[in-house]
């Protein structure tokens, strides 16, 4: 049920941030949980105290998506993008931008299933090495005490 030890966060090239994680469920369920407004706001929340009041998904090539989060003390943040490739239940390519913060990235989510377990690989491709490093580093400088808003912004760039 808990596959925390399978979680890997790496930077295999200068332009990418890659997450992989195993889930103890068949691929169609993981895909559904990842792409349905009914399910996404139940888990993609980031730090304690945040909710996801906006989750709009038009899951088809050329369709758009928009997510927004709100913290218990009233902070808000959002991001949106366009689906470039939709191949249920194995692959989604989409753009992602979060308003004025940082450049647009291209996100690729790949799901593979083996023995009833699903491995997801989520790759975020930045236009330049500088923007990738900036996304990684500016969060660091804030340290552990970074505000939730700030963390959430970086969370969203990497989501």
């Amino acid at each position: 049920m808990n596959n925390a030890e399978t979680f890997q966060l790496t930077t295999p090239t200068d332009l990418e941030i890659v997450m992989t994680r195993v889930f103890d469920a068949p691929r169609n369920l993981v895909f559904e949980a990842w792409t349905t407004p009914k399910y996404l706001p139940q888990w993609m929340l980031g730090p304690e105290g945040w909710t996801m009041p906006v989750c709009e998904i038009d899951l088809r090539t050329g369709g758009t998506w928009r997510f927004a989060w709100r913290s218990s003390d009233g902070k808000e943040m959002g991001m949106s993008g366009v689906y470039k490739e939709v191949a249920p239940p194995e692959r989604i390519v989409s753009t992602e931008s979060w308003g004025g913060y940082g450049p647009e990235t291209i996100n690729t989510l790949v799901l593979t299933e083996k023995d009833g377990k699903t491995t997801i690989t989520n790759t975020k491709l930045f236009p330049t090495k500088e923007s990738r490093d900036m996304a990684l580093k500016s969060g660091m400088k804030e340290g552990v005490d970074a505000s939730f808003k700030r963390l959430e912004e970086f969370l969203s760039t990497l989501a």
Binding site: M1, N2, N3, A4, F7, L9, T10, T11, P12, D14, M19, R21, F23, D24, A25, L29, V30, E32, A33, Y39, Q42, W43, M44, L45, G46, P47, D133, L136, K137, G139, M140, K141, G143, V144, A146, L151, F154, L155, L158
Partner: protein, 113 residues
């Protein structure tokens, strides 16, 4: 550069070894059963990223960890990892609920599969 340096598992293992104390190239090559040139290549990447430096001893030229930049880089990655692992554990729980609902559904409509 820091993150590229940390992306490689061998380099992370070298850093873990150096966290126990400074070591020369020869001393590092042994536990990793790698050639000295191969180790030196990894050390060069780590040094360029500012994650390690060379000690005083001119003969052994021991490498040692530069704590501050390493802590900064790993701390952020750890923060970020913690956030996503929180998301993923909620997703684990949700998937369990979805699986149970699907099993119940199958049980009640056996023909449909």
């Amino acid at each position: 550069m820091t993150f590229a340096a940390l992306a490689d598992p061998t380099r992370r293992a070298i850093l873990a070894q150096l966290a126990l104390g400074e070591a020369s190239v020869t001393e590092l090559a042994e536990p990793f059963s790698m050639s000295q040139p191969a180790i030196s290549k990894h050390l060069k990447v780590l040094e360029k990223a500012g994650l390690i430096s060379r000690g005083q001893d001119a003969q052994r030229r021991p490498r040692r960890i530069e704590a501050a930049p390493l802590a900064e880089a790993t701390e952020w990655l750890e923060n970020y990892r913690r956030l996503w692992e929180g998301n993923f554990q909620r997703l684990d729980a949700l998937l369990d609920t979805m699986k149970a609902a699907q099993a119940r559904h199958k049980k009640h409509t056996p023909k449909k599969r």
